[in-house]
Amino acid sequence: MARHALEARSLRRTFGGIAAVDDVQLAVPAGEFRAIIGPNGAGKTTLFNLLAGRIRVERGQIFFADRDITRLPAHARSRIGIGRTFQINNVFPHATVNENVQLALLAHHRRSWNMFSTADALFREETNEVVAMVGLDGQGERFASEISYGDRRRLELAIALACRPSLLLLDEPTCGMSVVERPALVELIQRIRRQRGMTVILIEHDMDLVFSASEAITVMHRGRVIAEGAPEAIARNVQVQEVYMGEGHGYA
């Protein structure tokens, strides 16, 4: 049994000379709900992109359940159980909600290359299950481009969940949602996590949610990890406060 679901060692990635991610160490135990926070430009999304395989690692290594996945291509990472949602809504706009989920299921069940069956009828039941799980039942036949923004965030989640990940990377899942909608989504994530025993790493800016829901927090600033620990410890961390409030130039 691997100690950690995910481990990153000395990760580094630059863009045009600037280190977006600089010597980042991360170790997330299996089943944990970990939040990654930090001001804009801290490198959080870049870190996610590295973990998911969307961009290449310059230096360092990534381990998924003790397996070195540093060089594994992005699509293969999804196959081995890493799911991901995007900060900017990333669904298949010209497909219905059901079809969006069905696509993920087709990929998950290794049917993408099937050239002979008729796609329509496949995985109906499982699709309905996933759609119901995120609370979109009833919207199944509506096009992804015409459902409300909040529902599209749920669809985003559904697509990731359909692939039965053991590790879920959520990039600002509540981004753009109204304050009242957010707790419901986080509740949903928590419920599914407990049901399936998933490890969840999420990037969030809503501090209320972060501090109430997560078990551990990693704080990033300018590409580096500046603090890590339980929510209470992070809340009291002076360095973290400074980073968020600014260096206190004349605002004493």
């Binding site: 293969a76 669904v91 706009p93 290359w113 099937n114 050239m115 069956s117």
Partner: protein, 331 residues
């Protein structure tokens, strides 16, 4: 999205979704019946013209796998049509084998070519892809043209023919109908399969496709190769029908005309290439009756369609459908 927009979206996607409707099956049966019965009441020119239209339709259907489903606009597709035809002809002429061996040889050669060209081309998208496929296409054209000792260059490749059984127009017509029919059916099944769905997903949002575990590059390459394969079949059919193969089959204008046919017929519709091919053939036969400058008028047609009816025949169909439906009250 309001009702009207929703209907539009459904209409647009209906073609692409290809849900098995009684209408589709009935229409296909009707068309098949007409085609089978054609030689009984049509004269030689129509039989010849229909044979050509069928191979043309197959060629453009293969292209639509790339353009309509995978979203890759290839301007070098004629390379595979030509290679299929030329290699089949060459093998038959110089190795003396029958058409039944030569055709698969041509298709194989073109498929391998598609693998090579595809390998380089699918790494890039959109404008780069168009440029690259155009360039490769012209490269193939230049080879066929300049290598005149083998291919006959400007004069074309002649000296091969279908087996005696299929020498007559009617016999070859049925042969073409059979082969094209099988290919169309195969393509239809392919488009409705999970593979076809994935291609559309890749077109819609390649990033998302990757993140659900789809090897986008491998899929695109497969689509490219499969498209090349079917194009080659069309090319081989054409070569043996005309008992000759000419360089203009490899020219970019042939590739461009295929795209024009997609525009005319509507590329979001499986049968769009078929409708477009028929329309194109009609134009091709009628325009030269009153002018030598057929390309000029084709150009005008393209502009008119692109500006005013970009969904082509399919678009006209949707418009009519909605006009007729407008009378019925909504539930």
């Amino acid at each position: 999205m309001n009702d009207r927009a929703r209907d539009e979206e459904l209409d647009r996607r209906d073609g692409l979704r290809l849900t098995p409707r009684v209408r589709t099956i009935a229409l296909s049966l009707l068309c098949s019946a007409v085609l089978v019965a054609l030689p009984a009441f049509a004269g030689a020119p129509i039989i010849v013209g229909t044979t050509d239209t069928m191979t043309l339709a197959l060629f453009v259907l293969s292209l639509n796998l790339l353009v309509g489903y995978a979203g890759m606009i290839s301007m070098g597709h004629a390379a595979f049509l030509a290679t299929g035809g030329y290699v089949a002809g060459l093998v038959s002429k110089y190795l003396g084998v029958s058409m039944l061996v030569a055709m698969p040889a041509g298709v194989l050669a073109a498929t391998l070519l598609a693998l090579v060209i595809g390998f380089f081309s699918i790494r890039v998208t959109h404008a780069y892809f168009i440029m690259l496929t155009l360039a490769f296409g012209q490269l193939v054209y230049t080879i066929f043209w300049k290598w005149s000792s083998v291919t006959g260059g400007d004069d074309g490749l002649i000296g091969f023919a279908p087996p005696q059984l299929l020498e007559g127009n009617v016999a070859y017509y049925y042969f073409t109908l059979l082969v094209v029919g099988v290919c169309v059916f195969a393509l239809y099944r392919l488009c409705r399969s999970p593979f076809g769905r994935m291609l559309a997903a890749i077109r819609d949002n390649p990033d998302r496709a990757t993140s659900i575990g789809v090897n986008v590059r491998a899929m695109k390459l497969s689509a490219f190769v499969i498209a090349g394969l079917f194009a080659a079949v069309a090319g081989a059919l054409e070569a043996f029908f005309h008992r000759g193969m000419f360089v203009n089959s490899a020219h970019v204008i042939t590739s461009a005309d295929a795209l024009v046919i997609l525009l005319l017929g509507g590329r979001r519709w499986f049968a769009g290439p078929i409708a477009g091919a028929i329309l194109y053939k009609v134009l091709f036969i009628t325009i030269p009756h009153f002018t030598v400058y057929w390309l000029f008028y084709l150009g005008l047609v393209i502009l008119a369609v692109a500006l005013f009816m970009p969904e082509g025949v399919a678009g006209v169909g949707q418009l009519l459908k909605r006009r007729l439906a407008d009378g019925t009250p909504r539930a």
